[in-house]
Amino acid sequence: MAIVRWKNRDLYDPWADFKSLQDEINDLFDIDRFPSTTGLFDRSVSPAIDVIEGEHEFTVKCELPGMEQKDIDVSIASNILTIKGQKKNEVEEKKGKYYKKESWAGNFQRTLSLPSSVAADKISAELKDGILTIALPKKEEAKPKQIEVNIK
């Protein structure tokens, strides 16, 4: 039996910092970070989205702070979901003197290719506290089914 030196995990490991630095550098070159979900007309500045697949439905969440219902247009055409809208600049540039400006304004568009299991006629969307939630139920036949086996 080989004897392995016991390592106290509470001790400060100087190499751990190098490890995190290397991870960060690797992250920079991570090609997967390029959004594969952006369409041709999607701009580089666009709201962040989450897509969650549940057992019975997909949920799409989109961060749209400061936007009203009338500014957002959600549409579906042959299983391509499009979230379109215009984020308005609430304050005119001339009016005030800016110290800091980090928010963006303008048109945006996000397109998502949905799997064929989504029932396109049952989609509902809700806007609350700056978050748009779109519920995309799955088709009945696509839902997991429990098949009973009768043993004779």
Partner: protein, 119 residues
């Protein structure tokens, strides 16, 4: 050692996109905090510090993430107030995920005209 441990256990916070501008003699701070409710927003003035902490509601969605771009964590911002800001007159409002803080400037700091009395 102790510092290192504290860093690891601290909950991750993220800064909200923030606009600060001056309007009608007031400093307006507008922050984008989607998903934060009025009850979960905590704004404190501690001496010279203005601390804004917006807690996001805990996720209750069941399922697997296919795309995850929305960052997880609470919004946290800390600003230093200078002496021109009237600490007793700071108004805050939240609407559609946008927090608007209106910081009034002290009357004494505003430019004023001095009347000349001719004798």
């Amino acid at each position: 050692m102790a510092d290192k441990k504290e860093l690891e256990t601290k909950k991750r916070t993220l800064p909200a996109a923030c606009d600060i501008y001056e309007e009608n003699g007031k400093v307006v701070c507008r922050m984008e905090m989607p998903g934060v409710l009025k009850e979960d927003l905590d704004i404190r003035v501690d001496g010279n510090r203005l601390v804004i902490n917006g807690k996001k509601k805990a996720e209750n969605t069941k399922g697997d993430y296919r795309i995850r771009e929305i960052r997880d964590g609470d919004y946290y911002h800390e600003f230093t107030l200078d002496d021109t800001i009237d600490r007793s007159r700071i108004d805050a409002a939240i609407k559609n995920g946008i927090v608007t803080l209106t910081l009034n400037i002290k009357e004494a700091e505003k430019p004023r005209k001095i009347n000349i009395v001719a004798k």
